[in-house]
Symmetry: C2
Subunit: 264 residues, 2 copies
């Protein structure tokens, strides 16, 4: 039996997590360990200065552990305290909202759980479902779309359990388009650098003091082959092989810098 | 005149920031824009759901802007609202505590500011000073050590302003050893994967309920050539050329996955 750790960044009760659960249970024993409440945009942070609590729930008739900390905390506690054996794979998601482009990858709690698992030595995959640009949807859409996304996630998890990650790949970052259906095709992609321009809007409060809203203006030109192009333009499932190592290792390029430092 | 943005992750009044300021002012106009208070371990997060405030202070006789948000917020607001022209370089630090290994790099606010700057198109560098393993130091040590670290940072910034970043490098992650002195040598390094094992300690509260502390056990064997080895074993300044792109681009390795997805 395969051991699967299922986590997310926005809470142990979210429909995206349970849609994945229903698919993953076919492959082995699934341990659900996720933050108690929404912890998106916490990145890779771990909780060092206060203790963590773990609460055991029964949700949809299944055992689930809610961790008071971040997605990274959840992965660490799951592996070290909850699971009797290490996981064969760590699955994170399905997140409500896409995680395409490096801008999103670096800040995402969903992806952070996958990176944390990878740094601890476990193969992992992050799944995210894009919302409409307005962030609104009709009643019932979320649950149905998450079920369809989980159905499309199934062969990817099966591939990872049977073949492992490709050589040189540390985790997969998978994004589903808003228009997800059973027939949505798959694209192997690279991460776009950005998907929006970071803008700042200045306003003045009733006391005539300025304040500022950050706003992301979606980039109009998306590059073919990227995760953003796949989900926004091709309306396809984007599968991005990712590395955790961010060292720039092509040492030829920085021989000059090396020599400079040696002369100091 | 060069335009330099100086930021950090632990507050606009920190001695590490002002030690760097005294060095950077020799190279051009320095804009200080940093979080109002300590924002370490927030990673790359940006503030979308509440407005930001910017307060203008005079600190050590110099103008400094304190941002109510994260290091990433500070970079965005600095570039879009405070600086009249884009920066030639973004400098983050000097952080109190090292940021060696991917474990640290992914969670660090200091490094996050450098990554954010790089994603926005500006060359950047993150500086961090290692504390003793116990995290304690004698009175006066911090200020003196930060001054020495800033002195050792100077040629690195000068190199970046004169030569730019080496090809294929998006930012530099620089760490100073606890034993920093004028004579400390420099090492060009790669990021270690981990510097500690993630462990969990279970305790029981007075009401007999369990709670958990995360604790990092420092790895005993550090690999030569890594940032961790440089600062802990060689007691050298570690200079790590970093990339922001975490796509796994060696497509040969995942041709099998591509074919698998195409067949679905």
């Amino acid at each position: 039996m395969k051991k699967i750790l299922l986590t997310n960044d926005d809470g142990v009760r979210k429909p995206g997590l349970w849609a994945l659960y229903d698919v993953l249970k076919n492959f082995g024993t699934v341990f659900v360990v996720a933050p108690e409440s929404e912890k998106s945009a916490v990145g890779m942070s771990i909780t060092l200065h206060k203790p963590l609590r773990i609460r055991k729930y029964r949700i949809h008739g299944r055992v689930a552990y809610a961790c008071s900390g971040t997605p990274s905390d959840s992965v660490i506690v799951a592996v070290r305290k909850i699971m009797p054996e290490p996981p064969d794979i760590v699955v994170s998601g399905i997140n409500e909202g896409n995680n395409v482009s490096l801008q999103a990858v670096y800040g995402s709690g969903t992806v952070a759980a996958a990176i944390r698992a990878s740094l601890m030595g476990y193969p992992s995959v992050a799944f995210s479902l894009s919302f409409s640009e307005k962030g609104t949807f009709r009643p019932g859409w979320l649950k149905t779309a998450m079920k369809t996304a989980a159905y499309k996630a199934k062969p990817i998890v099966e591939y990872l359990l049977n073949h492992g990650l490709p050589k040189g790949v540390d985790y997969l970052n998978v994004n589903f388009p808003y228009e997800i259906s059973d027939k949505t095709p798959y694209r192997l992609t690279v991460a776009a650098k950005s998907r929006y321009a970071e803008l700042v809007e200045e306003r003045v409060d009733p006391r005539e003091k300025p304040y500022y809203w950050l706003k992301g203006k979606l980039l109009e030109r998306l590059e073919p082959g990227t995760d953003a192009y796949a989900i926004f333009v091709e309306k396809a499932v984007s599968v991005t092989p990712m590395k955790t190592d961010t060292s720039a290792t092509s040492s030829d390029a920085y021989e000059d810098l090396r020599q400079f430092l040696e002369r100091l």
